[in-house]
Symmetry: C2
Amino acid sequence: MPSAKRAALLWVLALLGACAPAPPALVSAPPPAAPPAGMQYLYGSGEGAALSAQAWNALLAYVSAKVKARPADSVVLAEGAALEAPHFVPCGEKPFAAIFDVDETVMLNLGFEYHDATTGKGYDAADWDAWERTGEGAVVPVPGADGGIAALRKMGVTVVFNTNRSTANADATARAIAAAGLGAAVHGQTLFLNGDDAMGSHKDGRRATIASRYCVIAMGGDQLGDFSDLFNAGQAVPARRAATMRPAVAAMWGKGWFILPNPVYGSGLKGGFDDVFPMDKRWAPPADGEK
Amino acid sequence: MPSAKRAALLWVLALLGACAPAPPALVSAPPPAAPPAGMQYLYGSGEGAALSAQAWNALLAYVSAKVKARPADSVVLAEGAALEAPHFVPCGEKPFAAIFDVDETVMLNLGFEYHDATTGKGYDAADWDAWERTGEGAVVPVPGADGGIAALRKMGVTVVFNTNRSTANADATARAIAAAGLGAAVHGQTLFLNGDDAMGSHKDGRRATIASRYCVIAMGGDQLGDFSDLFNAGQAVPARRAATMRPAVAAMWGKGWFILPNPVYGSGLKGGFDDVFPMDKRWAPPADGEK
């Protein structure tokens, strides 16, 4: 081969070589080496377990005081209440209840999240529906939830689940709740689902239905929408965070409203740099290595 | 240009075009479009703020009961105690205190984490040291911590900080604590640091020193090492999580030991798939689309 032609060919081969690190188009990426940080924290760590156990311990201490001294008001916001000036559905002589979300509040969806993390598909509505229907063998209780729910029932407090799982899968969801060691849930009585009313995933309507039957002395959830739809009225990320810390709302956390950790999915995982890091709280190492 | 040569050139240009999507080797990757999920959750979300406020509310309720009825024992594990059978340093007539870690327990390191997320450098010891020395303008209190710490002092409880920031930066750390609205901290009295004894980042020795002077009725931290070094004795990830849920330890969360969320960094972010997802809790969608 003439050396000029040969040099040209080598140059082309070098170009091709430069291309080599670019992966071919794959149907799906190879599985990651480890679960994402949020899953390590929520499903694997002692810190995450302790945080959940703490919420359940605080809830039991709070509820045991309330069953001894019946409160005038429930912890369910009354229709027309605003976060700035909350007021609550009255208790009257109604029997005591506590309302809980299901997913990542009382039950960890280990099977689905394993599938999510290993396939890298992200949330897929068809897969989630299949999970609701067939996942009962691959769930565990949130640390503290199984003992906590049993203790509530022993105190005479009815446990009501209010979840955005579908009414179409009510039986399978009741089976999953039982399989996680959380006891019985009866659709329309102690289990409320997305599709029970015309409000879709908004839970205020279902909460109002439950509060019309019970004196709700505690609510638990991993998303702000488990406490009030007013947190999901389209606020910007910083305004939504600020809404949780206004005095009347801030006073509810751990005192009627009990939040469980979820850094894996949901309404807490939003925001760009300008939402999360205020302009006046940014920093870079001093260029001169200031001592 | 002869058409053969021109075809060859076009072919080479096509190859170069195929290369185009592969990024050139850069000294550092371009900044990400948004902060990582853990930072969105901890620094930006209402859910994260509520979780922190809940821990501080639970702590204040617990401490206000304890100052009215002095306990026989502190919540600091005694020398030689095991997690399986914990026993605690006695209180005697010592004055009340509460011990807190600093970073992500009472103070959010917004400035450093902004730098970390935008540069994509990951943890850098020299940058962190510069942050300890110069970061006081870019910190905020953990939601609930500023009011909580003020309320503790009003109840007559001495607030003692036990942090792994360096003794070399004691003055700057005291300034950062004050800048976050958390009041005064005096090295050796109400501020203990890495380097105060020969145990490095292990905090048991410093806890013992504090418990020899005070009746410690509450501890707060975002890492299990803020409660006992026994959680960091080299256990596998699942064993470490199980250790937090043994009955005697599980009973401490929210009742003497108060944990704050941190899905951003630290000992909670560990583990491979086999550590985080038990073999018998895995799932995939049924291949037949089972109904």
